[in-house]
Subunit: 131 residues, 2 copies
Amino acid sequence: MKTINLTTQRQAVYDVVREAEDHPTAADVMNRLVERGHSFAYGTVYNSLRYLTDKEMIRELKLGETASRYDARTDDHQHIVCEVCGKVGEVMTPMPEEWLAKVAEETGYEVHEAHIVVEGVCAECRSKRKR
Amino acid sequence: MKTINLTTQRQAVYDVVREAEDHPTAADVMNRLVERGHSFAYGTVYNSLRYLTDKEMIRELKLGETASRYDARTDDHQHIVCEVCGKVGEVMTPMPEEWLAKVAEETGYEVHEAHIVVEGVCAECRSKRKR
DNA sequence: TTTCAATTTAGAATAAGTATAAATCTATTT
DNA sequence: AAATAGATTTATACTTATTCTAAATTGAAA
Ligand SMILES: [Mn+2]
Ligand SMILES: [Mn+2]
Ligand SMILES: [Zn+2]
Ligand SMILES: [Zn+2]
């Protein structure tokens, strides 16, 4: 079944994620909904995020922080997190297919996908650190 | 200060992690301690795991599940998780340096390290699936 | 309209982990 | 040996993120 039922609340949640520049958490989404004059139940926001994730309209990101983040970009890409300020950037450079092939060979697993979280220091934090 | 103070409880926690074959969670560690006749406070197990991690005697793994796992292998490697049975395998094939360099160039971040979680289906689950 | 399934709501429940303050252990000084 | 002081452990309370539950609401179809 690929029919998608976008209720008012699901559409509003989707809009927030789609218009975000920063991979918001569920709590971020909640706050932005309130800013836009909505007041949905907490559970509804979680349900909507899950629904949209299931329908592959958004992606859920586990970046090793306590809370999941959400991303309206569903094309294949990875993420990089600043160890200083926590900013999350996009990594579009594709993972070499050959690495995945080697991993499949090494482990005997049938490999489906890789989630990569790169850690480092962003340009701003680096220049602040300099002085 | 690199002095390491291994109390009874820290040593016992370390032993459990070192002798485990399966990247145990804190709860797993707790259970195995009880099996070995120990009965430490829950907080002590968490404190010990954190202490050992800080001293780099073990590593904490965030594999996108709800609970962290712990690994006595501290050499550079990655992990692969079976989507069916949840088994966690080691990935020793190193990520090409050149990929990390490209990511640094693309993002402007100073890249420190990459945490990779590969998802797929392990050999056993694949053969079970066949019939 | 009536009906029925899907959805939303408010709030309780759960899971993992952290914080706190008192008790205990351990090493050092007297 | 006794006293002191710092580190550690313990029991328990707390926090945070998320899921569950049961009742109320919505909205499409009959
Ligand atoms: Mn992204
Ligand atoms: Mn490992
Ligand atoms: Zn930064
Ligand atoms: Zn498996």
